[in-house]
């Protein structure tokens, strides 16, 4: 029976798909968002449950600016406006709510993220955000016109064609966005690395360890927290922008609260408060998710798992279940993740 299973499983496809996703654009964007969250949660101790609000702000800020054709519709200005929107979101989350205790900050941030998403989705903003349909409009999408074209086609230095081999074969568009994504991950990680070695970083970490002590030393805790929120938020918004370029459209469905928790899982899996944590977390996360999904799919298809237990169209839900289990068990048994330090990964509420 066991022999039978091994004969049915396409091992090459299993590893190939998992590897492909773990170095793909999705992994890069999740890593980038996790770098931002790492500054919030890992280094500053801010319980930000609204990561997705920053991603949405970046993606929508960029897409609205571009599709409306403001200031001549330049893509660089559009990206800049996406980042600016993220700063505004950081200020509007941070100014009023950074004084709150950690768990209330969590509730406020998740609520603000939902307010943003529901507003974007509203029928009344149809002309600006495309409502439930997103941007670009349905007509543009049918005609294959997107805000991503300038970046992925016009400015693409890679010649048309497919590169790589086996399951790691990417077309020029995907490859280019992958390069952009991982470069941004490296730059953002370098930035955080530098910041954490600076006096600024020491204050940030001191706030995480003991806010009152930092205050007693004359540091303006509120201002430092706000700066952390803005920098991390801008990094997370870049993740939203890269994802928008990859998919070619933005839609409110991409920014449901579950995305926030995906990124939390990535960060905790890799290890909060470590430079490599978000990167290793994201790659491992996607490898594990795709590997188990594909394994289950092959086992269901070959009849190894009977239909009564799991149907093949339910496999997509398994991803979410796995994410839930990973998040809970990591928090219980390995809060420092794969590469984090245990003493830096314990966040408490006084």
């Amino acid at each position: 029976m066991l022999m039978n299973l091994f004969a049915e499983i396409d091992v090459s496809k299993l590893f190939g798909l998992a590897l492909r996703t773990s170095i793909g654009v999705q992994a890069a964007t999740f890593a980038l968002a996790a770098v931002g969250l790492n500054l919030h949660y890992g280094y500053t101790g801010l319980l930000n449950f609204g990561v997705v609000a920053f991603m949405a702000a970046g993606a929508y800020g960029m897409a609205i600016f571009f599709t409306q054709g403001w200031l001549g519709g330049s893509i660089l200005l559009a990206i800049a406006s996406g980042l600016a929107f993220a700063v505004i979101i950081a200020l509007s989350i941070g100014l009023p709510s950074l004084r709150l205790r950690a768990d209330y900050l969590a509730l406020t941030t998740i609520a603000i993220a939902e307010v943003l998403r529901i507003s974007f989705r509203s029928q009344r903003l149809l002309d600006l955000t495309g409502g439930p349909f997103g941007l670009p409009s349905i007509e543009d999408r049918n005609a294959n016109v997107s805000f991503a074209d300038v970046i992925t086609v016009d400015w693409n230095p890679i010649g048309k064609g497919n590169y790589g081999a086996w399951f790691l074969e990417f077309d020029e568009k995907t490859l280019w966005v992958m390069i952009i994504g991982w470069s941004l991950v490296s730059l953002a990680s370098l930035l955080i690395w530098g910041l954490m070695r600076s006096p600024w970083g020491r204050v940030i970490k001191a706030i995480r360890e003991d806010e009152d002590a930092a205050r007693a030393l004359g540091k303006n805790v509120f201002s430092y927290k706000l700066q952390s929120l803005i920098i991390g938020g801008v990094i997370a918004s870049l993740a939203g922008i890269v994802r928008a370029f990859d998919m070619g459209f933005v839609e409110t469905q991409q920014f449901r609260p579950q995305t926030t928790f995906f990124i939390w899982t990535v960060l905790i899996l890799g290890g909060a408060a470590s430079i490599w944590g978000p990167i290793i977390g994201s790659m491992t996360f996607w490898f594990v998710i795709i590997f188990s999904e594909e394994l289950l799919r092959q086992m269901v298809d070959s009849g190894w798992i009977p239909e009564a237990i799991l149907k093949s169209n339910d496999i997509a839900s398994v991803r979410m279940i796995l994410m839930g289990i990973m998040l809970a068990t990591l928090m219980i048994w390995r809060p420092q993740g794969l590469v984090g330090k245990k003493e830096e990964a314990q966040i408490d509420v006084r």
């Binding site: 505004i88 609520a111 603000i112 029928q123 009344r124 002309d127 509120f222 279940i321």
Partner: protein
């Protein structure tokens, strides 16, 4: 932070909020969008104030509207494909779905033009013209159904607030405990045939199952973890993981299809003065109201209730006055989870039972308990009533998809202005 900075920041936030609302308030209607539309009518008479729900092939809600004065409704859809249109109700007295027809219509939108959908309804003994009730009467009806939603949110919220009170845990899995109740009740009804007059038995078993779930969660997960001295923040993250686990288990084993209880399919309305509601709504309001009263009595008058409040106020003091804290916490979990289960079953009765119902109600519950004051059961009741009422009644003026905004806005403002809520006393500043 100084008072001035606080004032300035509140002001900035308010302005930003208003700015966000401004374009929403300016109604922009595009004319060449893809929609599903129709007119709900019986014979030649149109029916206003009936809720219509459109879901796509993956059972994601695309939109819900209430028919206008002229019985017309229209819901934009994202693209071509198969959609399910559900007539949620309530239908006026004497009107029902024709025999052989259903309250759900599946449409396949194959080209880029609006698709019209009709429901086959029939009026009792060919009643003459149905009158459209005056505006105040419809507002009154909306307010009564707001009261109903408020009672349900209150029921669902008490457990979360009590559990926070005695353990300090913000339990993100609470909404899945609500969904669990509804799914168990539906499963019971469809497998055991306990319909009609026997339906209260279904509710009872669902409530007991909910209590069992609470027992299991405390005994198997949260109790041991608390004794391992895990921080509440870590436990909160664990509860998020648990919520996803439960939600998608429900999806796999209940299915993506939204379902309704057989005993309470589309019902015709029952009038009570100017108020006209489906018969089941009176039932729901009565049960919820009584339960909330009983909860109040239990907390105020019984020994268990007193110890729950004592542990909530000050666990150390409670322990030293001879209260078994762990036993009390266990009872709070059982009790809170049973109430969540009851709330879920009731919500399933008024709307549909679906795997996403937990996700949909989670933020309403959070809004309710923060408004009332986290940790107090009475706060959760007051907050639940207020949030449910406000969000439901707002649909009289606002789009249906904006009703959650009301609840979230209330929650954010409360957290910023008076973080301890209306009835709370705890210190929440960090």
């Amino acid at each position: 932070m100084g008072k001035r900075l606080k004032l300035v920041s509140s002001f900035i936030f308010l302005v930003l909020g208003l700015l966000l609302c401004l374009p929403i308030a300016a109604n922009a209607q595009s004319d060449n969008e893809l929609t599903i539309r129709g007119t709900v009518r019986v014979g030649r008479d149109v029916i206003p104030d009936v809720q219509i729900l459109v879901t796509d092939a993956q059972d994601t809600e695309i939109g819900a509207v209430t028919t206008g004065e002229d019985g017309k409704w229209e819901i934009p859809i994202p693209g071509l494909g198969e959609y399910t249109v559900t007539l949620v109700g309530p239908l006026p007295e004497g009107v029902s779905v024709k025999e052989g027809a259903t309250d759900q219509v599946v449409v396949n939108v194959e080209e880029y033009r609006s698709k019209a959908v009709g429901f086959q309804l029939t009026g009792e003994d060919k009643k003459p013209i149905l009158e459209i009730p005056p505006t105040w009467e419809r507002l009154l009806n909306r307010m009564v159904s707001g009261l109903k939603v408020g009672l349900l949110v209150a029921l669902a919220s008490i457990g979360l607030s009590l559990i926070f009170g005695v353990t300090g845990l913000v339990n993100f899995a609470h909404s899945e405990m609500v969904a669990f109740g509804a799914v168990i009740a539906l499963l019971l009804e469809s497998t055991t045939g306990l319909t009609g007059a026997l339906f209260p038995l279904v509710i009872l078993i669902a409530v007991l199952a909910g209590g069992g779930l609470g027992y299991g969660l405390e005994k198997g997960i949260f109790g041991p973890l608390r004794r391992r001295k895990m921080t509440n923040i870590s436990l909160m993250v664990v509860s998020i993981g648990l919520a996803f686990l439960m939600r998608y288990m429900i999806l796999i084993y209940h299915g993506a299809e939204p379902e309704t209880f057989e005993s309470f399919r589309i019902q015709s309305g029952v009038s009570f003065g100017p108020i006209e509601l489906p018969a089941k709504d009176y039932f729901i309001i009565a049960i919820s109201f009584t339960t909330l009263l009983l909860v109040g009595i239990l907390l105020q008058r019984t020994k268990l209730g007193t110890s729950m409040r004592a542990v909530s106020d000050n666990p150390a003091l409670a322990e030293s006055s001879g209260i078994d804290v762990n036993r009390t916490i266990m009872w709070v979990w059982i009790f809170g989870s049973a109430l969540a289960s009851l709330g879920g079953t009731m919500i399933g009765l008024t709307q549909v039972v679906e795997w996403q119902m937990g996700e949909k109600i989670l933020l309403l519950i959070f809004a309710a308990v923060t408004l009332g004051g986290l940790g107090t059961a009475f706060g959760a009741m007051v907050g639940g009533l207020a949030i449910g009422f406000a969000s439901e009644t707002s649909t009289f003026w606002l789009d249906n998809d904006l009703k959650f905004l009301i609840a979230l806005a209330v929650m954010i403002v409360i957290l910023l202005v008076r973080p301890r809520g209306i009835l709370g006393v705890r210190e929440r500043l960090g």
